[in-house]
Amino acid sequence: MAITILAPVVEDVRQDDSHAPHGYADQSMSEDSDSDVEMGGVSLSQKRRPRDSNNLATGIMTPGEVVTDDPQWMRGHGTYTNPLSTSIIATVAGHIEKVNKLISVRPLRARYTPEIGDLVVGRIVEVQSRRWKVDVAAPLLAQLPLSAINLPGGILRRRTSADELQIRTFFSEGDLVVAEVQSVHQDGSASLHTRSLKYGKLRNGVFLAVTGTGGSGASSSKPKKSGSSLARDWGVVRSRRQVWTQQTASGGADVDIILGVNGYIWISKHVEGTDAASSASENVSITRMEEMVSSSIYSSQNDEISPQTRHEISRLSQCIQVLVQNGVRVEMETVQAAYEASLQVDLEVGDDEDELSEEGRDYLEGNKASRLIELVEQRWAKQEKIE
């Protein structure tokens, strides 16, 4: 079947109805009997959220909504108070978080706030005389100065005016780079650097942008040991390993995955370049090695990639998409779990209906997504038990 058309899913509002002091029933009656003018005022004031035992609203807050009227709470991030009243009002859409008596609203998605040391993937949007402007999903464009990159021909070479003239041969508009945040300026914009063999131009793969809270506020949160631990922080979070090489099934070569803290993700074929350079010439000095590697560091030519590897790269990128769409945070463990789960789902489907689903069997985001997430959560629960 080439096309699947689903009926719209309607969130069940009945549930709230029983909690609310003035239900929808009286409201609809007033709409029927009363004039238009009266109706507007009545229906607005009656729509109140259900409250929990602490007199806090539950569910996802929307901007402008009253979180609580109770004066015992203090306001935190994502909220404000009117000086004339005690009620705390949300300024972002998200979940309520309380620490002792401090109430804050954690946004569902936010732009990335750079912090020093973050690994980010960015796209060059502008070339200036001595620097590049890089889109890193932050409120402001980050800058990458010419002085903060490894110039070809060795790390110790001085930057010359010739380099300034040839600035587009290193990076030009549209190119993707992986870099590290070197400093954060007063206005929140970041300065990047690529002075390491790990960083530089990206090729041989696909780019993926996921939404979520990015790194903001997520650095402090270890997975809490509760049922909802998986679904707490969306998107990519800061973690120990954001770059790793994934072994793939069904004939694919090794695949490198770079999870930028800013929610930009790069999945590419693993190139043996760096290892080969060091192993082939063991007696070469450090600076010489730098030289050899840098010959490919600004290349925009792809290596040959087999169809099997391309299949697995596509599968990995879908796994991440499914994780994000279901509100599971993206990190090495979850991505690996999702990848294994997707292989298992394929096997299961293969047993059920072999020839029928041949068409489009690689597509994960439709029916298979729920099963995949189920498997990931099972794995996660098992892992937590061991810990």
Binding site: T4, P8, L176, G205, S300, I305
Partner: protein, 387 residues
Amino acid sequence: MSNPRQASSASQTPHLSPAELSYLYTSLSLPKGPIRPDGRSPTQFRPLTAETDILPGTNGSARIGFADGTQAIVGVKAEVEKTVLASDILQQDVENDLQAPSDRRDGAESTPSAAAGGHGSWVQMSIEIPGFRDDDALPVFLSEMMRESLVGSVTDAGKGRDTEMAGGLKGRLVINKRWHWRLYIDVLLLSQPLSYPLPLLSLTTHLALLSTKLPKLKSQGEEDPFFDDDWGVAEHLYPRPSPSASATSSQIRPPVTLLVISVGDNVIFDPNREEISVADAVLAISITRNSEGQGLKLLSIRTIDPPSRLTQPGVPNSENLSTMAATGNSDNAAAANPSAGQEEVPGVWRPRRGGIKRSVITELTRTVLKKGGVGEEVLEGLEGVEV
């Protein structure tokens, strides 16, 4: 970063790096079945949700949402209008009336048919896309492309069928010689156009027209039209098959327009934005059911300016100054011009020059029109929607 210069092109192309473009192009042009970044098969559509009759103030309406979050709403409004042509025709000698050149093409014999056969300008379509003015090229081009196939469909007199739909949509709008319906189709894209919105808008328009009802006519013949107040007895614009008639697939339906791209020798349906940006050719195909209800009819194929020609070319390693620097011959001046080399280097992106092979067109029409092909599946999927 939507570039206004490219607004008329197939979509606002994202800035992609040459390495990404090359990877995508090679994946999509693999001879043994393309590998799409989201794992779909070449003929597979993204899953969508659809509902009809959502706006109470319209004659008919529909909403469709893609899984990626793009949504469109279409509302259809019908108005009774006096047929200006009729009075002209009575005089018989007004031949050079600029308002109806198409209906007068075939001479004196057609003079009564302008009133009887309807007129294309009675269907008006306006498209609103966020970020575009309504006189921008993209909305104007899209609406004309969809209107054209609506008006043009079922022009052959379907003999043996209900005379209501004999002249297609145009004929259906005729009330009598002096009065006709004017149809306003308002298309609203609710989200940013993540991919070229044509298939989304076309499918939504299809469903909206299916759910469109016109009040029942009480007057007869050449009287001034007078309608039944009861909305319950209103008639569908596209009449439903009477239960006594052969139950399946005998209903006349509006045409749909599908978006197809060709990459190498492959033909790919429902492309997303990244896929469009590497396409050799982008085509819009309008199809409808034959008037007998069996088989499909091709109404039009239109080419759309492919954005791939505006992309940045990749630089092969052999010409790259920064990669050559390591090998020592950095003074090669010819290499400073990246577009100098003409031959294709594997793994290096070259902007597509456009053009489409005849064999690809043949393959394309065959996949759409053949029995059990894509066109049939899409129409069947749409017929499954409750209207």
